[in-house]
């Protein structure tokens, strides 16, 4: 082996050895500094300042900040976090850098508004963000829908929701259901059927699979709440008629109150308990339900969505 070959072998071995060593070192540093790039947000909380510092590349920077917001929410949501302190600033910086980045308002508010663990529980901030979006994108009907949705679902401000849907319905090319929703607000605000309509609209207009799955889970939960209420009313009616609680659904069937064995939206039969309550068979598969929950049941930190959604 000549001198050049020897040097090449040593250099090659060093190259491969050091490259291999650098990977675990990077992993260690990443583990140590997890979220550190996000902490920088706290140092420069102003999107306007960042915009000036970006030297005209604010579009790219907005994309980076939006991705950081998604990562931040995703990481914390996966671990069942109850607090999302940086989510609001991240979304505000993103939209300051690029006020036309509609996805940041659309999905950003889906993260920001709902109460923990499904979101950051900051509906007022989500409203502010959406209004900022409308100010810069007045012809985007989805932003008005978003505004109405947050007002209805998280703030229960039905008048504001009706106003948002009404304004959105006047936008050129607005989806026709905005007009229907505006009318529905006036007469049936607070009713389960209205919430069902809103979530159905969310399901139909969503393009992102996780948002669609979330809407589908809410629709199932509303269906379960409705079913359980109806079944419990039947049990009460049976008791008034027969003088005791029914032992099984067959007895309700025999009295003509029920046509067949009731099943939840996943196809599992509901359970009739000895005290007359109705319970679902698999509460873990039905996140967001408010009725039919077994006593002492603690819902999972992270809602379970079905792969078929």
């Amino acid at each position: 082996m000549n001198s050049t070959q020897k040097v090449s072998w040593v250099a090659g071995a060093l190259l491969i050895g050091c490259m291999a060593t650098s990977i675990p070192l990077l992993r260690q540093m990443d583990a140590m500094r997890s979220g550190s790039s996000l902490e920088e947000v706290l140092y420069i909380p102003s999107g306007k300042v960042l915009k000036r510092m970006s030297l005209g590349y604010e579009g790219l920077l907005a994309d980076v900040y939006w991705t950081r917001a998604v990562q931040y929410f995703g990481d914390r949501h996966r671990t069942g976090a109850k607090e999302y302190a940086l989510l609001g600033p991240l979304l505000e910086i993103t939209t300051s850098l690029d006020p036309h980045l509609l996805v940041a308002y659309d999905y950003g508010c889906t993260f920001l508004s709902p109460p923990p663990p499904n979101g950051a529980g900051q509906p007022a901030r989500a409203i502010k963000l959406t209004k900022y979006g409308i100010q810069h994108n007045p012809n985007e009907w989805k932003l008005y829908y978003q505004l109405g949705f947050i007002n209805y679902m998280d703030l229960h401000d039905y008048a504001a929701a009706a106003q948002a849907f009404n304004e959105g319905s006047k936008v050129p090319n607005a989806h026709p259901f905005l007009k229907v929703l505006a009318a529905q607000m006036a007469e049936h605000a607070g009713e389960r059927q209205t919430a069902f309509m809103l979530w159905s609209a969310a399901y139909q207009t969503a393009t992102e699979s996780s948002i669609k799955a979330n809407a589908a889970a809410h629709i199932r939960a509303l269906q379960v709440d409705e079913d359980v209420s109806t079944l419990e009313r039947m049990v009460t009616a049976y008791r008034q008629k027969i003088g005791r609680l029914p032992i099984s659904f067959d007895e309700l069937h025999a009295t003509g109150l029920l046509r067949s064995t009731p099943v939840d939206p996943l196809g599992h039969p509901y359970k009739l308990m000895a005290d007359g309550r109705i319970e679902v068979a698999t509460p873990d598969d039905l996140p967001f339900i408010t009725k039919g929950i077994p006593p002492g049941y603690k819902p999972a930190d992270v809602p379970k969505f079905l792969p078929t959604d």
Partner: protein, 258 residues
């Protein structure tokens, strides 16, 4: 140290000084003086912050520019002037030439950073009238900046060993920019799946990691730097510099200089 390497390193340092590389210190001194005097008059409460942020950023950017533009010429200039043949006709091996050039430029950058550090601390003393214990972290930030220089110098040498000076400068600068976002890059790669994940992860680990070497913002906010990070950063920067230098040696050993 190997005497041939030491001679080449010393000559590289002398050449850099002769090329008036250290003149950048005058621009730096003017910048720091201007910032220290001006900020005190037009702002409230951020004098220390501005001096540390501006000072360390300037140290980093000035050094990166020097490392790239001197680094890319280290080999090509010697070939162009035909002085390389004189050097290699002596008992100097090609790898010694590369390592010597690297150490010479790294030494120049360390000296340059030393004088700039004096400037930063002088400006800090001027605006704050006294030093605080947390100012010691500024030294750690300066040390990390020197580690950045080692990586970028080695990369500039690697690129200059197989491409033209202009392309080498573009490559080296691109690596600096990509490396600055390397943590984001690894984060994004983590979001992908399947083959794309392996591919993006591979690229993310191949590019240099400058994110962890930049603690300017945190030291400006008087936050301490973990001892483990100093250790890992040192080990990583040395590893990466060796990787790039080994690549440069591999290419240069096979290069036809006739």
């Amino acid at each position: 140290m190997n005497t041939s390497i030491a001679h080449i390193a010393r000559n590289t340092f002398r050449e850099a000084v002769r090329d008036r590389v250290l003149y950048n210190l005058i621009a730096f001194a003017l910048l720091m003086t201007g910032a220290a005097v001006l900020i005190g008059r037009i702002s409230i409460g951020i004098e220390r912050l501005v001096v540390i942020n501006l000072g360390l950023t300037a140290v980093s950017l000035f050094g990166i520019v020097i490392a790239i533009f001197i680094g890319i010429g280290l080999v090509s200039k010697e070939i162009e002037k035909r002085t390389l043949y004189t050097v290699l006709s002596r008992p100097v091996r090609r790898w010694e030439f590369i390592v010597g050039k690297f150490l010479g430029l790294a030494g120049t950058l360390v000296v340059n950073t030393f004088f700039m550090a004096i400037g930063v601390f002088a400006a800090l003393l001027y605006v704050a009238h006294h030093f605080e214990g947390s100012d010691a972290w500024v030294l750690v930030a300066l040390y990390f900046i020197i580690l950045q220089f080692l990586i970028i110098t080695a990369l500039a040498l690697l690129f200059s060993s197989f491409s033209s000076p202009l392309l080498a400068a573009v490559f080296a600068f691109s690596m600096f920019v990509i490396g600055t976002f390397s943590e984001d890059l690894r984060g994004f790669a983590g979001l992908t799946e399947g083959f794309t994940r392996w591919l993006t992860m591979g690229v993310a680990y191949l590019v240099p990691n400058f994110s962890a070497l930049n603690v300017i913002s945190s030291v400006a906010h008087q936050q301490p730097v973990e001892g483990r990070l100093i250790l890992y950063n040192t080990a990583y920067a040395l590893c990466y510099a060796v990787v790039a230098l080994s690549g440069a040696v591999l290419v240069f050993e096979r290069r036809n200089l006739k």
